[in-house]
């Protein structure tokens, strides 16, 4: 086994990462096309309509002379179902009727390309990949209880706010309301009743106590302006939201929906097309991959834990690898199987994964006396283990260190020791969940 170590400090966004070694992922990649190509694009286009999909393809796959061209560092992900509105209620969204409905909603198609897919002799060539991915979620009783609890709290808060806002908007037009104190005095009973009748208060005294707290603070809000009462009213509504914990409940519910407790399964497929001569006339499919990733999120006190499995099957075109990667050791197929466990805490997360690989080939070995073709079977096994520690320096900056041993790569069998330090900056849309920290 050959060892080398490397320390990278990289900017995931917005910089691109050509030439950087990519670790084999345990989970199905968010963009299977980018995954099979080994590409970490600087941006992933996600068109939300067929028109914008067409515009993205035309503008990227046609060069200045209106001829077809493979774009460099290009990635696109398209989810047809979400291109139009269906008026789904939250209930319908959370509990699809059947598996077919889940497939329809979660199917996404990805495409990625590069002009720098390096062949064995370091010649850059054009590479294009296409991928498909979907997710199945299998809800359970505990998930329903959690969702119902969030929905009940959300509904209660919404009803409280509606009651208070509908009275407050009427009140401000009355001539006797001239300042914060007048407003507060007239709203006191409305607020108390809304809390007691619609909220989760044990007694009227509890509702009155919270109302008093709100009224006290409302006096110090920006001054009520009879001509422009909206600024004051908005500040008052936000004060109510804060006191009934509305934002916190919303944020927790939103986070929960993204990572629901129970069992889910990601399925993905991708294939890569290479143009070794950089001509559209000649292309080969060197590699295809299929991922099945079952995931289980634990409940209650173990809710910070996630257990993942992987079954990944890869096909290789041996003729391609013999011709364009003569020094590589390729097999007809690889089967990966493994487990990972991760723990997510407030400021940091830890993950450990172990994956085994079984590689097989049938190589032509001449003919027998009767002219039947003979094959020689080759078999190899390999093992990958990796531990990662991520620490959230701020909401936008995540420091990750990974240590372990990865599979021998088809293109380069050296450098199996992994020692990677990543500093990931997220600007705007990208989140920790959306970036692959192992790249």
């Amino acid at each position: 086994m050959n060892y080398s170590s490397a320390v990278f400090i990289v900017l995931i966004f917005p910089a691109s990462l050509f030439g950087q070694q990519v670790l084999n992922e345990l989970r199905a990649p968010t963009s299977p096309a980018s995954g099979v190509l080994g590409l970490q694009p600087s941006t992933v286009l996600s068109p939300k309509s067929y028109q914008s999909l067409e515009a993205a393809l035309y503008s990227n796959f046609l060069n200045s002379e209106s001829k077809a061209a493979i774009p460099n560092d290009f990635a696109l992900e398209f989810t047809p179902y979400w291109t139009k509105n269906h008026g789904l209620s939250l209930e319908q969204y959370l509990y699809p009727k059947n598996i077919g409905e889940q497939i329809k909603r979660n199917s996404s198609f990805s495409m990625a390309s590069t002009q720098h897919f390096l062949l064995g002799d370091s010649t850059p060539s054009n590479g294009l990949a296409l991928g498909y991915r979907t997710t199945f979620y299998f809800g359970n009783e505990n998930d329903r209880k959690i969702v119902e609890n969030y929905r009940s709290n959300l509904k209660s808060n919404q009803r409280i706010k509606n009651k208070i806002a509908s009275e407050a908007e009427k009140l401000v037009s009355r001539p006797e309301i001239k300042n914060n104190l007048d407003f507060v005095d007239n709203m006191r009973n409305v607020v108390t009743n809304a809390f007691f009748e619609l909220g989760n208060f044990n007694s009227l005294e509890d509702a009155k106590a919270l109302t008093s707290e709100i009224c006290k603070e409302a006096v110090t809000l920006p001054a009520f302006d009879k001509q422009k009462p909206d600024d004051f009213l908005d500040a008052f509504y936000n004060l109510i939201d804060t006191k009934i914990n509305a934002e916190n409940i919303f944020n927790k519910f939103e986070s929960y929906i993204k990572e629901r407790q129970g069992f889910s399964m990601d399925a993905a497929y991708a294939c890569m097309v290479n143009f070794p001569t950089n001509s559209f006339e000649f292309s080969l499919v060197p590699k295809q991959s299929l991922w099945l990733t079952p995931t289980y999120r634990f409940k209650d006190t173990w809710s910070y834990l996630k257990l993942m499995g992987v079954i990944r099957y890869e096909w290789y075109n041996l003729d391609y690898y013999r011709k364009y990667f003569p020094k590589s050791v390729a097999f007809t197929n690889n089967t990966d199987y493994g487990l990972a466990i991760s723990g997510e805490f407030k400021k940091f997360s830890i993950q450990f994964e172990a994956v085994g690989r079984s590689s097989k080939s049938e190589i032509p070995a001449g003919f027998d006396n009767e002219g039947n073709e003979l094959f020689r079977k080759e078999h190899s096994t390999d093992f990958q283990y990796l531990g990662s520690f991520s620490y959230n320096l701020t909401e936008e900056i995540v420091l990750t260190y990974s240590l372990g041993n990865q599979f021998q790569r088809t293109e380069n069998r050296n450098n199996t020791l992994v020692s990677l330090l990543n500093l990931n900056f997220g600007f705007g849309a990208p989140t920790k969940a959306g970036i692959d920290l192992k790249k």
Binding site: K48, T79, W82, N85, H86, G87, L88, S89, L90, Y93, R105, R151, L154, K155, N157, Q158, R159, K161, N162, K163, A165, S166, E167, E169, K170, D230, L233, D234, Y237, N238, D241, A246, E247, F250, F253, E254, I257, K258
Partner: protein, 117 residues
């Protein structure tokens, strides 16, 4: 800090003896919301998510504006907008829309004057 969207001075002419139904229609996906229609008297009709409610006869709704308040939460990661249609007796009054990047948890307030036909 959730954002409030106000639609003022909406007019809906209606005859005195006509029944008035208020409808909320969620167009975009994954909305969860409550709507309260503050009408004269102590019973204010409420609508959970999409639906319709009888809010009174035309003659009962004269005078001061009827205030309808919706508090909406959109928790669906795949959806990027909130779009809601408000109708009275099947006639569209307002179509509200806002990008979720602007507000995921908006409060929408309609001020409707029911004038005589």
């Amino acid at each position: 800090m959730s954002k409030t969207y106000r639609y003022r001075d909406l007019l809906f002419p209606v005859a005195d003896n006509t029944d008035v139904y208020f409808t909320v229609e969620f167009i975009s996906d994954g909305n969860s919301g409550q709507t309260l229609i503050n009408v004269p008297g102590s019973l204010d009709p409420e609508i959970e998510n999409s639906g319709a409610a009888f809010i009174g006869k035309g003659k009962d709704l004269r005078g001061e504006p009827t205030i309808c308040v919706s508090t909406i939460a959109n928790l669906v990661p795949e959806e990027d907008e909130i779009r809601i249609r408000y109708k009275i007796n099947g006639i569209q009054l307002v179509e509200h829309s806002n990008a979720k990047s602007e507000e995921k948890n908006p409060t929408i307030i309609l001020f409707v004057n029911f004038t005589a036909l």
